[in-house]
């Protein structure tokens, strides 16, 4: 924001994101994200119980466990 050294101010630990006003107050229900994405299924994964990842971390972990047997 400024290039001055940061000085503690009264808002140092307070809300930073201003939820800006929208350019308009109204829009039809057909233009909402819900109508566009058809609800939650396009936004969220619900497979956390079953997900099995094979990323670098998991591969390294496997090696680590084998060396500990």
């Amino acid at each position: 924001m400024s290039d001055k050294p940061a000085t503690p101010t009264k808002h140092a630990l307070e809300d930073e994101d201003e939820f800006e006003d929208f350019p308009v107050d109204s829009w039809p229900s057909t233009e909402t994200l819900k109508a566009y994405k058809e609800g939650d299924s396009c936004l969220w994964e619900e497979d956390w119980d079953d997900v099995e990842v094979e990323d670098d971390f998991t591969k390294e972990l496997k090696k680590e466990l084998e060396s500990n047997k």
Binding site: H11, D21, W48
Partner: protein
């Protein structure tokens, strides 16, 4: 113009004439000669006319403009007390204008005070004064006892929305708590939020965003937080990506805590790449939630510490840790062939590996620490089994070692 304004009050309807009359930056059309006969209305008209003139002279908000805008809201408050629901939107427009002016003036004073290196502000800030007047508007809506559908009780949400914003800037958390309690205690007299705002979806989104944040970050009530924030997101206009990101900053951790849902790749991948190395960005965190990489999670929490604290998100995010630990235990169980007996030594090794801790000599302390963490997971019901301390073994259920934790919408 005055004629058109007077007829709004006469016929109990809000027109663009009235909204433009309220706006300080819109010039007066015609003259103010036709003073309304009603004394309260005449006072409102005179104050507004003076506000418009002062605003034009000062070319924007000034302390004097603020005083007149405050007087305008008080004048309209007095009229609104006797009016029905039609008055809510013009009154809201008037109050919103005041909040915007107060915020601009206080930001200016703060910058000046910072530059002058002086301490507390000598005078009461504009937002505090403005908050009291808007609170009057909220109260007069709540107090409306008219049983007819045309009452103005739905207006309570309109002014609560403005007060959320005002109190957030003031950091006045106890005032938010009081206001939410009052609204909750009157819930049976108030219409549902989405009906109260109707087509004005921008207001539904803003109200739900602030209320969701309050429940999630101040009360650690993730279920309520999730419901409000999710409504905010889904009601948002599909093109307002900046607002999507602001809502998701809160919703991503809360959706996991309430439902064990995590965002699809495209949802957070679309966020603009952060300039600031400490900016909130959840891609790595989501990867840790999937893989059980506890070290990655710990590093992310340190990296984003300050922005998370500023937003009240540090506590919700720290509540994610047991789930990542659980993920790690589950990975160890799977990689060791899914046996019902898991030596604590193996889990401790995984824990030390993921957090890059060096297992201390003998490892007794590490084993005790691991048992303690596992005992917590068992107590929470995340792992079905027991600890055999003597054998240093975790014995898990053969049928369902890891009960399902994801809550789908239908089951919720």
């Amino acid at each position: 113009m005055i004629q058109a304004v007077t007829s709004c009050f006469q016929f109990k309807r809000c027109t663009t004439h009235l909204l433009e009359f309220i706006a300080a930056d819109k010039p007066m059309v015609g003259d103010a000669l036709a003073d309304p006969s009603d004394e309260k209305l005449a006072h409102f008209v005179r104050t507004t006319a003076a506000l418009k003139i002062e605003y034009r002279c000062a070319q924007g908000p000034s302390p004097r403009v603020f005083e007149l805008a405050l007087a305008q809201l008080r004048a309209l408050n007095r009229i609104a007390e006797w009016e029905s629901g039609w008055v809510v939107y013009p009154l809201y427009t008037c109050a919103r204008q005041l909040v915007q002016m107060a915020a601009a003036l206080d930001a200016r004073t703060e910058r000046a005070a910072e530059a002058a290196q002086c301490g507390d502000l000598a005078t009461e800030d504009h937002l505090t004064q403005c908050g009291r007047a808007v609170h009057m508007s909220l109260n007069l809506c709540l107090k409306d006892r008219d049983p007819a559908a045309s009452n103005k009780r739905h207006g309570a949400y309109y002014f609560a929305l403005l007060l959320f914003r005002t109190y957030a800037r003031l950091g006045a958390h106890s005032l938010v708590t009081n206001m939410v309690k009052v609204l909750e205690s009157r819930a049976q007299d108030l219409p549902p939020v989405e009906r109260a705002f109707g087509e004005r979806r921008a207001l539904t989104v803003t109200y739900c965003y602030y209320l969701g944040r309050y429940h999630a970050c101040r009360r650690a009530d993730y279920e309520k937080g999730f419901r409000w924030l999710n409504t905010a997101l889904l009601t948002c206009h599909r093109d307002h990506t900046r607002h999507h990101q602001l809502i998701l900053t809160y919703l991503v951790p809360v959706a996991f805590l309430a439902r064990r849902w995590y965002p699809k790749h495209h949802v957070i991948a679309a966020w603009p790449p952060p300039q600031d190395p400490a900016a909130i960005h959840y891609a790595a965190l989501v990867a840790a939630l999937r893989s059980g990489d506890l070290g990655l999670y710990d590093r992310e929490l340190v990296r984003m510490q300050l922005p998370l604290l500023r937003r009240g998100l540090y506590l919700p995010l720290s509540h994610l840790r047991p789930y990542i630990l659980l993920r790690l235990v589950k990975a160890v169980w799977r990689l060791s062939g899914g046996s019902s007996q898991l030596p604590i030594r193996i889990i401790a090794a995984a824990l030390a590996y993921s957090t890059s801790a060096t297992p201390d000599a003998g490892g007794e302390r590490l084993l005790d620490h691991t048992e303690c963490l596992l005992a917590n997971l068992i107590a929470r019901g995340y792992v079905k089994g027991y600890l055999s301390h003597g054998n240093r073994v975790l014995v898990v259920s053969r049928t369902e070692p890891f009960p399902r934790l994801v809550r789908s919408e239908t089951a919720a």
